[in-house]
């Protein structure tokens, strides 16, 4: 315990961890807003901590450079401890600080979800992958700090984590996207991190961590041997990730939905229960009066839930959505269902269809811009609702291209 306390006190993490935590919380809460479901929130916490990765690498690098001058009274080369022990001691110090910051930031974001959303399952795997990614970055920081001069460390720490993470996360569904914990899509509600993908990611992070620690340790004895060993570790890690499928998300084991009766039945995932009243109102306002001209669906259900033939499926984005945004999410899918009358099909994107999507959204949320304001060429009738419904139905006639 005394060694751990010393490692914590000696580490630059004491300065970097609070800054990293504040950055992640500020970004997670202020930029993305409250995202609303446990899996999404956990993934947002991991993504938000990506901002702190340069700080993590820099702090670890500075820890590695501390006392590296032979004139320092604490120069490790003169100590009784082996290089392995000193490297591990430093890694434990900086990693503990950064994990504490990550846990605090994740907890802050998850607490905002608490009370408004019941988790389908707690996102342990997502958070564990985040922990692995942070541990790998502290090891990489130690390795960089052991070799690079001060200015080189400062520049590489600032640039490399951003470039690597953004570059790797790019291309959802490809195995290379699993090389980072950053998720450019963010796992949607009703999905979880696939255990097999998480295991491969963690194996890769472990390989990076061990490789980084070997390189950092070998600095004073056999740098080339260390780099070769680390190369083997990293190569094995890469193989473990790149030889499997790239899908990160998997459906949750048990479907848990919650529904509300209105003009049609509206169902969402249990975690999104707080959207239900607003969504029912939006749906009712959209479909009200349409039954005079078009057949209506039996059910409007959030993406991922089981569907019958007469169900409309739509996706709620990861932003905290108000009625206006819900109407914008729902309108295109409802128009497609109405145009195709429930049969599988696609609606070609045309001005005729787009103006009808906006008309639907405007009916649901009258505060939104009325379609007449942006398009005067489609002759939207301003008379009784029955005329408007007829105009709406006429525009969808023949718009569906069956699959």
């Amino acid at each position: 315990m005394r060694s751990l306390a010393l490692a914590l006190r000696a580490s630059w993490g004491a300065l970097a961890a609070p800054a990293a935590m504040l950055a992640a919380v500020a970004y997670g809460l202020l930029n993305n807003g409250w995202v609303g479901a446990w899996m999404e929130t956990a993934q947002t916490a991991v993504n938000a901590f990506t901002l702190a990765l340069p700080l993590i690498v820099l702090a670890a690098g500075l820890d590695a450079q501390r006392d590296s001058d032979v004139s320092s009274p604490l120069y490790p080369g003169r100590g009784a401890r082996s290089g392995v022990v000193i490297t591990l001691w430093r890694w434990v110090g900086i990693t503990s600080w950064m994990l504490a910051a990550f846990i605090a930031a994740s907890a802050t974001l998850l607490i905002t979800t608490w009370g408004r959303s019941d988790p389908i399952e707690f996102p342990w795997l997502v958070l564990t992958v985040g922990v692995g990614w942070i541990a790998a970055h502290t090891a990489l920081g130690l390795a960089l700090g052991a070799y690079l001069p001060r200015l080189g460390l400062l520049i590489v720490a600032a640039v490399a984590p951003f470039l690597l993470n953004v570059g790797l996360a790019y291309g959802t569904g490809s195995p290379s996207a699993l090389l980072t914990a950053l998720d450019n899509g963010v796992l949607a509600v009703g999905t979880r991190l696939a255990p097999e993908a998480a295991a491969r990611q963690l194996a890769w992070f472990c390989a990076l961590t061990v490789g980084g620690l070997i390189v950092a340790t070998a600095r004073r004895s056999k740098p080339w041997l260390g780099m070769a060993a680390a190369g083997v570790m990293v190569g094995l890690g890469l193989v473990s990730v790149l030889t499997g499928p790239g899908e990160r998300g998997a459906p949750v084991a048990e479907e848990k939905q919650i529904c509300a009766e209105g003009v049609v039945v509206v169902c969402v995932w249990k975690e999104h229960a707080y959207y239900l009243p607003a969504l029912r109102d939006v749906t009712d306002a959209m479909v009200e009066d349409l039954d005079t001209a078009l057949p209506l669906p039996d059910r409007v259900a959030e993406a991922g839930l089981a569907l019958s033939d007469s169900s409309v499926s739509f996706y709620i984005g990861t932003q905290n959505a108000g009625p206006g945004m819900l109407a914008e999410y729902l309108a295109p899918d409802l128009v497609r269902w109405l145009a195709c009358e429930g049969t599988p099909g696609e609606v070609a994107v045309s001005d005729d269809v787009l103006v009808r999507e906006r008309w639907l959204a405007w009916r649901a949320v009258p505060d939104a811009l009325p379609p007449q304001a942006f398009d005067e060429t489609h002759g939207i009738p301003e008379g009784p609702i029955s005329e408007q419904v007829d105009w709406f139905a006429a525009g969808l006639d023949g718009a569906c291209a069956p699959l």
Binding site: A19, A20, A23, A26, Y27, L30, N31, N32, L51, A52, P54, L55, L58, L62, L151, L154, I155, A157, A158, V159, F162, L163, V166, A169, Y170, G171, T172, L182, N184, G185, V186
Partner: protein, 193 residues
Amino acid sequence: MSPYFRARQLSRALGTVVVLGLVTAAVGSRRIPALPPGFGQEYVPVISLALMPVIVGVTCTTLLESPARTLERTSCRGLAAHRSLYALIICGLAIMLLLGAATLPEEKPYLLVATHFAAGTGLSLLITAWLSDTFAWLLVPTYALLSLMVWQAADAWRPILVFGPYPTQWSVAVCCALGALGVATHVTRRPRE
């Protein structure tokens, strides 16, 4: 060559700025629409437009730092002219390279890159007037956070968050003022203890 410049490894400093200019060009040349909506829209423009110029600015500050502080603090020679010239060489080259890098992608207004460079250099020079350069580098994640926050911030907040990725007359003026203040501080103050 004046001993002032010999003490500063001019070729190494210029090489560092050139390498960073090339990295900026490489990042900026990635076409934004090719990236997926979430991170493509948020991260890449912020990194290439705001963060890289700031990183170059902080690097320039580190290069401008005095290599022999006590000697220069107790010098009888006024060094303001030398400091100005050296700052002009380093920052001038950086501005040229960043503007060159900014011409690569289609979406980039040149003014934005120079604006963020001015802000990054000015702020980090002000920090290093009193604190060590490590603290100046903390500007990078802070700047990234501010830039990403302002990316989706409400319009009302943008004039206040002057470091955001959108250039406004107000933000350009403030960033240039920060740059000028930082350089003036560097030129007129003796190296910190």
